[in-house]
């Protein structure tokens, strides 16, 4: 196929239906940033309803009847906020964008193993996203049974739920194609000398994550097919006999089990949590090693820990179901495995903390985000322990405490890691560093306000406020003592939105900034192949002029006797 080598590409094949992993990574990145913003906007509207129930929403009120968010709409927004943030925002960002762009570069490969599948993966993802957004405009609005789509409610919900299921099929297919590709690329296309023990931790994280996606998503696809059958063909997979809806017995055959959905759903959705966090840990590990100018402490331990984490994540799912009445034996098993899975997470986090010890830390913006990730993820992890134990979970289940817990993992955890990664690899993509001043403004205000949003949720949750109330708990006496936090959290959320403006300005300002001369290919003095063996960014269609040969591990910083404080992996 030498004809592919040096031919001129048309605009469409270069920028739209591109098969270049770098451009597909950028497509993924931009699309998922837009979806992250969209999902966040939904939440900012919901927070108005929570802070000031039954008042007209400013700015966007004209879109709604009476200028307010009705309880049904609130449910739709809640379900779609979760769906969009997870399946259209964070996963495509950490796997689609970072994985696509960086994995081939970090392993010295010319491209992904299957470039056409890679392109198909992006376009199926976009189709899934369009379907999800479209569902807002069907009668009855978008899916409104929560992002978990529990039946029987989801079985009898409005049309939006059917569209949600179709959208999910596209998203599942997309991530299947993407993750297959990443696995094959890592196994088959590593550069000469790049043994498994010399892979950067980021690549390991992507490898484990891809296995989780390949093996955990199909059961949700199966569950989705069953729910579609329930909704379209009138079957009763998730509908028990004698179910009463609106005072009448539902006219179905019955004999199904609502718990079946929960098992199949959480069999995906718990590994999914590690899909969200593992690549983030990978990003943070790269940035911390680079900016402490030290080798990553305990490289082998964290690699083994991540594999262990991946394996364990398949046998903890039912800790989401302690109060379903599935039985004490089941609860005992799943709380034990849940306590065990916290060990590898702690190993990884501790190794990253210890890496900081005695390092010459450079406090640039990517490093600040990476450093903030550590305690924020720590809070998220530790607050998860009471949820993993059945006795305490009974009290906390379905309260704001749960929301606080997983948002600490995903928002100031993963999303901070995403920002760290964007600031860190931006010069790789464009040849220009993002502005440090604006970056620091972005960081500090984000850090303050994101804690303002999520910290009070623990207080409300401990008081027993349910997570699913459209009025934020006004109608419940037990919530009265903690209601004043609603306004505080909403203010923080809107200010958090404002705090993203410096980032957006920075992003476009830097892209359009004119810089003279050739860009530095390795502005962070890093050791890994994507910085050391490529030409000046932006990179063309090929990755490497000469196929790299690797001679050493990924984190040889501050080696005694070396002329510089870093030795590239490809240096003899």
């Amino acid at each position: 196929m030498s004809s592919q080598d040096h031919h001129e590409e048309s605009f469409i094949s270069k920028y739209i239906f591109s098969q270049d992993h770098k451009w597909i990574g950028i497509q993924y990145g931009i699309t998922s940033l837009v979806f992250l913003l969209f999902g966040f906007t939904l939440m900012m509207v919901m927070r108005w309803q929570l802070a000031y129930p039954d008042t007209v929403i400013p700015f966007v009120g004209w879109m709604f009847e009476d200028g307010m968010l009705s309880p049904d709409m609130y449910n739709s927004f809640g379900a779609m906020h979760g769906t969009i943030m997870i399946f259209l925002g964070v996963v495509p960002m950490v796997v689609g964008a970072f994985g696509n762009y960086l994995v081939p570069l970090q392993i010295g490969a010319p491209d992904m193993a299957f470039p056409k599948l890679n392109m198909a993966s992006y376009w199926t993802y976009l189709a899934g996203g369009v379907i999800m957004v479209y569902s807002f405009f069907v009668p009855g609005g978008a899916a409104n049974s929560g992002w978990t789509s529990y039946p029987p409610l989801a079985d009898i919900a409005t049309t939006g739920q059917t569209i949600w299921l179709f959208g999910m099929v596209f998203l599942i297919t997309s991530s299947l194609l993407g993750s297959m590709n990443i696995i094959v690329t890592i196994v088959q296309l590593r550069a000469e000398g790049l043994t498994w023990g010399r892979l950067p931790f980021f690549v390991w994280a992507q490898f484990v994550t891809s296995f989780l996606l390949v093996l955990a998503f199909p059961p949700l696809e199966a569950a989705g097919v069953l729910q579609l059958m329930d909704r379209l063909a009138g079957t009763s997979f998730f509908l028990p006999s004698g179910l009463v809806v609106g005072g009448e017995i539902l006219n179905v055959s019955g004999g199904g089990s609502p718990l079946l959905w929960q098992h199949l759903f959480w069999f995906l959705a718990h590994p999914e949590v590690y899909v969200l966090i593992l690549p983030a840990m990978g990003v943070v590990a790269e940035i911390i090693a680079n900016n402490t100018r030290k080798p990553l402490w305990g490289y082998k331990s964290i690699v083994f820990a991540s594999v262990w984490l991946g394996f364990m994540s398949f046998i903890v799912w039912a800790h989401h179901m302690f109060i379903t009445g599935m039985g004490q034996g089941m609860s005992l098993f799943f709380q034990t495995t849940t306590m065990i899975i916290s060990i590898p997470s702690v190993i990884i986090l501790s190794a990253l903390f210890i890496t900081l010890w005695g390092g010459k830390i450079r406090f640039n913006t990517p490093m600040l985000f990476a450093l903030a990730f550590l305690p924020m993820f720590g809070i998220g992890g530790l607050t998860g322990l009471p949820l993993g134990l059945a006795p305490t979970d009974i009290h906390l289940h379905d309260t704001y405490y749960v929301i606080g817990h997983f948002h600490y993992v995903v928002a100031p955890g993963t999303i901070f890691a995403i920002f760290a990664g964007i600031y860190f690899w931006f010069p790789k993509i464009t040849g220009k560093k993002l502005n440090e001043g604006l970056g620091k403004i972005h960081f500090f205000f984000s850090l303050i306000f994101i804690n303002g949003v999520f910290m009070p949720m623990f207080i409300q949750g401990l008081a027993g406020v349910s997570r699913r109330l459209a009025d934020g708990g006004v109608s419940y006496a037990h919530a009265a003592g903690v209601l004043e936090w609603n306004e505080f959290m909403s203010m923080s959320a809107w200010l958090l939105g404002v705090a993203q403006i410096p980032f957006i300005i920075n992003f476009f300002m830097t892209i359009f900034k004119k810089v003279d001369g050739v860009a530095d290919p390795n502005p962070w003095q890093s050791t890994t192949i994507e910085w050391t063996d490529t030409t000046s960014p932006p990179l063309g269609h090929g990755n490497f002029e000469i196929a790299p040969v690797v001679h050493r591990g990924p984190y040889e910083y501050s080696v005694e006797g070396a002329s510089e404080d870093f030795i590239p992996q490809t240096k003899k």
Binding site: Q4, A113, Q188, F217, A222, T235, S236, S253, H263, L264
Partner: protein, 197 residues
């Protein structure tokens, strides 16, 4: 730009890319059908009687015939690949044609089975046994059709590659074959679970 190991094996893994790719894909397929089999088990364990009273009687002779047809198609699929390995393109054409013929035969029998059930009002909505029966066999039929599209492509237009890149074409047949055996294997599990047990 050339992706390495499309045709030749990578020395340390002993694989070409697509072969690893299809194995990973099949792993995910196992999880897909595994999810459905788990659903089947949970529904069955939760049911007071199984199969539910008043449900349809599945046609065992027809399904047995279909099992034989599908296994035969798997055999001809291997023969198609082996013919290419022995450099006999004519035989490949014949065996691939037979594979497609047997796949079509499976679908025809399945069509008669479905229509006999549906004409008596035994729809998926009738009870959970028929629901899981239609869902699982239906998904399997979709997999058969997908396999036929791929095999049909490799049989006719795709076989031009034999002239330009015989090694890669042989690999493609092997990969399509792995998928086809998997589809066969799914049926081998479906047949006893739904018809016999």
């Amino acid at each position: 730009m050339q992706i390495p190991y499309n045709e030749e094996l990578r020395p340390d893994t002993g694989l070409y890319n697509a072969k690893l790719g299809i194995w990973i894909f099949l792993a995910s397929e196992i999880m897909l059908f595994g999810g459905l089999f788990s659903a089947y088990i949970m529904l069955r364990v939760g049911a007071p009687v199984w199969p539910p009273l008043g449900t349809a009687q599945l046609n065992i002779p027809m399904a047995t015939f279909n099992t034989v047809v599908l296994i035969t198609s798997s055999v001809t699929m291997v023969m198609a690949w082996a013919s290419l390995k022995m450099n006999n393109f004519g035989k490949f054409k014949m065996y691939m044609g037979l594979t497609l013929l047997f796949s079509a035969m499976f679908l025809v029998v399945k069509y008669f089975e479905y229509s006999a059930k549906l004409s008596h009002g035994f729809t998926p909505a009738h009870d959970t046994f028929l629901a899981i029966y239609y869902t699982m066999t239906g998904l399997h039929v979709i997999h058969i059709i997908a396999g036929m599209i791929v095999n049909g492509y490799l049989w006719m237009p795709g076989s031009k590659m034999w002239k330009s890149n015989p090694e890669r074409f042989t690999n493609r047949i092997e990969v399509a074959g792995l998928y086809w055996h998997f589809v066969d294997l799914v049926w081998i599990f479906l047949f006893p679970s739904l018809y016999l047990l």
